[in-house]
Amino acid sequence: MEKLRRLIRSEAGTGVMLISPTALYAVLMLAVPLLAVLVISFWTQTGVRDFDTAFTLANYKEALTDPLYRQLMLRSLMVSGLVTLITVLLAFPIAYFVSFGVKPEHKSLWIFLITIPFWTSYLIRVFLWKVILGYNGVLNSGLQAVGLIEEPLSFILYNVNAVIITLAHAYAPFAILPIFVALEKIDRSLLEASRDLGENRAMTFLRVTLPLAAPGVVAAVLIVFIPTIGDYVTPRLVGGPGGLMIANMIQTQFLRLNNAPLGATLAVIAMLIVAVIAIVFVILGNRAAGQKGARR
């Protein structure tokens, strides 16, 4: 009893006590449900709410061999890969500009301006792209009205391109923030040192700034790549039949086809692929940052 009391009074004990309500909530409402998804993916649906709980790999076999699921999975990977590439490439110069080109007292205003659109309804932003890119949409009607085009542009119409444009727009602020934070942490005297030692601007950027910004770039890539692969709203609203992604199939399995085990299987496979890619990327990113940083 005395031992227990001392433990609770200790720093570690107080910390654990304080964290426990939040941790418990995360365990009950996140860890347990995630485990349930894993468990149910090995079951078979037999009725509306009834399952055959005998262990089976049939769902995994179906998910991995059916060309439809494979196509959706590959498309999701391709879309979120491209979206990540585009957002991070477009975001880096912005983060660089705010960190190095803006007066310190104006930095937080710039960052605030960049993040405001992120706080507005995601559903509405995606819907706006639907009305912008549609056949008789804002873009086509606008370009036709000023006489730039005769026929509506069709390459951005309810297809994968529309999904990529919309997602790249929606996730732009996500990519800027982590890169900005990493750039802000760079000790400016390192850049001066590099210049004093005779490196030019470009070489200083490549050999000092970029390696030091690598953790931010890695974070930006993950923060865009992981959620976009599971995006449901954008493919549904602007993707058309050819732009659907894996999340749409997960939703269909759960809410329409009433095959929760197969939906769970697809979710598990998607998360596994994302996790593997994320881990590989973090390792590569760390190695790149480490090597470049150490090189003289």
């Binding site: 349930a36 937080s108 509405i124 923060i223 959620p227």
Partner: protein, 265 residues
């Protein structure tokens, strides 16, 4: 730097362009969302008043958002204090797991909660949306509160202990007033996230839709699109207003404790 600045300005315009279309078409009399614009009207806003189903959805959303914001902020205070003040084994892992919903696709959160709820024989409803929203709002609340708590000088609390205050009264009299701006900011951000969240609500709302779920069902009817633009305008204006107020409180908190740790994230 000059060309970078031009690029940055264009980038900001690109970021905001879709949002600026909202009021443009919300006040346009044409039933088609396309150029050229016709004439000014407030008809679509008055149409919103007639959609009684929408009012139910709005009330439902408000109820869910207030409850989720309070729960997420309370859970956030515990976690932020534990993370900034104390060191204990497994801290990094536990905090990482609590912050996981920040990157986890929302559909995964939605599906996994749905499985558990149905499996346990409960039916979905406002309560299950609250459970999900609290989960995804908590990491944001923690991020804001962590900077509020880490900016706080611990010697102020130690002084209170030395003057004979108990841990609870110290928290109430010293800690709480100093981190109050952070708490208000966390409440507003969580409220905004919950009001705007769609996927989790879509899976877990049951028979009573939230406002975004109702908005989504409106989008299928071309006739209702101008009203969607009107409702969208209102929601975006409210979100931006709440976020500006939240930022104001966050900065005031940073000023009070003497440090500005940067933005929300």
């Amino acid at each position: 730097m000059k060309s970078l600045k031009t690029y940055a300005v264009f980038y900001l315009i690109f970021l905001y362009a879709p949002i600026f279309l909202l009021p443009l078409f919300a006040f346009n009399s044409s039933t088609v969302i396309a150029f050229p614009l016709e004439s000014f009207t407030t008809e679509w806003f008055t149409e919103l008043l007639t959609l009684s189903e929408m009012h139910g959805a709005l009330l439902n959303s408000l109820k869910i958002a207030v409850t989720s914001a309070v729960l997420a902020t309370i859970l956030g205070i515990f976690a932020a204090m534990a993370a900034t003040r104390y060191r204990f084994p497994g801290q990094k892992g536990i905090m990482g797991f609590i912050m996981l919903p920040l990157v986890l696709p929302e559909i995964i959160v939605a599906v996994s909660l749905l499985i558990v709820i149905l499996r346990m024989g409960f039916s979905t409803g406002a309560w299950s949306v609250i459970v999900g929203h609290t989960l995804i709002c908590t990491p944001f609340a923690i991020a804001i509160l962590q900077s509020a708590f880490s900016a706080l000088d611990p010697s102020l609390e130690e002084a209170a202990y030395d003057l004979g205050e108990t841990p609870v009264s110290t928290f109430r009299l010293v800690t709480l007033p100093l981190v109050m701006p952070g708490i208000i900011s966390a409440l507003l951000i969580s409220f905004t996230i919950s009001m705007d969240e769609f996927i989790i609500a879509f899976f877990l709302t049951g028979a009573e839709p939230t406002l975004p779920v109702y908005l989504f069902s409106m989008m299928r009817f071309p006739k209702l699109l101008p009203a969607v633009m009107a409702l969208g305008t209102i929601l975006v204006v409210l979100s931006v207003l709440l976020i500006v107020i939240a930022e104001f409180f966050r900065r005031r908190g940073a000023k009070r404790t003497g440090s500005d740790a940067g933005g929300f994230l």
